[in-house]
Amino acid sequence: MKKRAKDINTPKSIATPAPVNTTALLDVHNLTVEFKLRAGNFFANRNISLSIERGKTLGIVGESGSGKSVFCRTILRLLPSPPAYIPQGKILFNGKDLLTYSEKEMRYVRGAEITMIFQDPMSSLNPVFNIDDQISESLRLHTAISAKEAREASINLLRLVGIPSPEKRVDSYPHQLSGGMRQRVMIAMAIASKPKLLLADEPTTALDVTIQDQILALMLQLQEQVGMSIILVSHDLGIVAETSDRVAVMYAGQVLELSPTEAIFRRPKHPYTVGLLNSIPRMSGRTDRLLPIKGQPPNLLRLPVGCPFVERCPVADVDICTKTPVSLKQIEPDHATACLFPERVHG
């Protein structure tokens, strides 16, 4: 356990990444994730294709069950193999396909090149260790430094993420910190190794609104300092609008629309996106009723062959839309939609 990543010969496969001819840091092609359960098999992710550039933020929006978290976990290969299987797809990180990496190679990637923060700060920290132990451990696992140096580094990290009196806080236990502070600690642990990509899986959902704001601002600030890309997963359109350069809208395991933030919000090209935007409660204009999307989320065990949104879609052509499988198609230089009739969609 005392071996450090530096002391071990890193497998050649990741020590010298292949030359890339795109600027994309992460390039996902046709990723499909299947869950085989006793109740049946279903695709949690179906043909996901998207990419993210260095230093940019990609927001992934979708309701619960749309497959956003599964996607993040698949990037880090955290899903156990029964029941999750990856029948097809490529996840190119710096040009190398993560799906071909062995478990050992993935462990070099996790926490160092790609890190993840989770939704519930209450349970993301081990209750039996203090903050110093937890941050120092991740530091010392990836770099050869002494306990004292790690403690200093931990204090600096806490200061960086905006925790007051870090020298005192570093000896606290998680139960002695508030939710916002715990999430800051999680962020500190995640950026400690200056990762290239941060996966943030609903990092502010469990926090109250004022803290939410601070955490997001912190993440963007750190992004600039560290130069990392962020994939921000949320069901909150507001958060995504504020922080992302590009947005992917997911539904029932598929990406239905993918474009820069402005385009998604001003000129959405998918009825689901329009539905989401319309359902946002407003303070002015019509304030007596909410406008939900008609219908229920689909049963993933029995998805129709065609568009998963067809039963709830106000502009669908039922014959065509139920039978034709959908996938993202570029309709404008940087705007892709999976809708078969984007011209019928008015934002």
Binding site: F118, S124, E137
Partner: protein, 294 residues
């Protein structure tokens, strides 16, 4: 309002006071149990100081004497001072209790958490072994093994070690099944920590509580087991003092010399109570909801 004088407490004082504060907030049963067991343990350790009589060689002239100032617990059939024997036996019984409990504890814990974390064939095989072990009454199996191996404390240890780890394996595996789904374990995996580190450093401290609480009752049961085995003549051999052995000796004289059997018996009861209190107190302290106490 002080007149400007600030008393600087040294940091070691702070630490001591911090610890004392924590201890004083422990549940009452825990504190009582610790006191009881400490008294018994100390008595055992300080036995030579608390009695001048030899526990093994007795004065035949003074056999079967009732409790008196000279012999607080009376004497047995060969004139040995029962108080002295009880004290010296305390050492042995506590030692037996701790070894027969914590060696299987360690083995069962390690096997259980590995099985719980990884699952697969290791888990399957381990659980089948556990099933076999718990299918039979524990005492019967111990006696069978001792009948094969022969009497004596060493063989009793072997017999217990062969069987008792299964309880701890089951308990710790069950806890591990819950803990491994916790988000901090997922976070640890997401940070690239290797599985053994996750199991032994991150998961283990969170898996311990139910095993520790259970071990308290187990100590009591094991002391009783040792006493029963000695009672049957298959454990501790005479003239070594052990509570069960003393009780056996006194059986034949129950009507004439009740003190030989009864008073060491009370010692067992008090020890058992002490450990049960500790178990109960620990359960409260550790916030257990599903505990099995004796």
């Amino acid at each position: 309002m002080t007149n400007g004088i600030v008393l600087e407490t040294s940091s070691s004082n702070h630490a001591v006071r911090g610890v004392l504060n924590q201890i004083s907030s422990w549940p009452l049963t825990l504190k009582i149990g610790i006191v009881i067991i400490s008294i018994i343990a100390l008595s055992g350790i300080c036995a030579p100081l608390l009695t001048r009589y030899d526990p093994i060689i007795g004065d035949f002239d003074d056999a079967l004497a009732p409790p008196s100032l000279e012999h607080p617990f009376g004497t047995d059939s060969t004139g040995r001072d029962v108080w002295s024997r009880t004290l010296y036996a305390a050492q042995l019984d506590l030692q037996i209790g701790l070894i027969t409990t914590y060696v299987p504890f360690a083995v069962g814990l390690i096997l259980g958490i590995i099985a719980g974390y990884f699952g697969g064939w290791f888990d399957l095989i381990l659980m089948r072994l556990v099933d076999i072990a718990i299918a039979f009454p524990f005492l019967v199996l111990i006696i069978v093994i001792l009948a094969i191996l022969g009497p004596g404390i060493q063989n009793m240890y072997i017999a217990v070690f062969l069987l008792a780890w299964t309880m701890y394996a089951r308990l710790s595996r069950a806890e591990m099944l819950v803990v491994r789904e916790q988000e901090y374990i997922l976070a640890a995996r997401a940070l690239g920590y290797p599985p053994l580190r996750i199991i032994f450093r991150h998961a283990l401290p969170n898996v311990l509580s139910s095993s520790i609480v259970f071990s308290m009752s187990d100590i009591v049961l094991n002391i009783l087991l040792a006493s029963s085995i000695s009672f049957l003549g298959m454990g501790v051999q005479p003239p070594t003092p052990e509570w069960g052995a003393i009780i056996t000796d006194g059986r034949n004289f129950l009507l004439q010399a009740w003190w030989i059997t009864t008073l060491p018996g009370i010692a067992i009861v008090i020890t058992g109570l002490g450990f049960s209190f500790i178990g109960d107190g620990l359960a409260r302290l550790l916030g257990q909801r599903n505990i099995q106490t004796v």
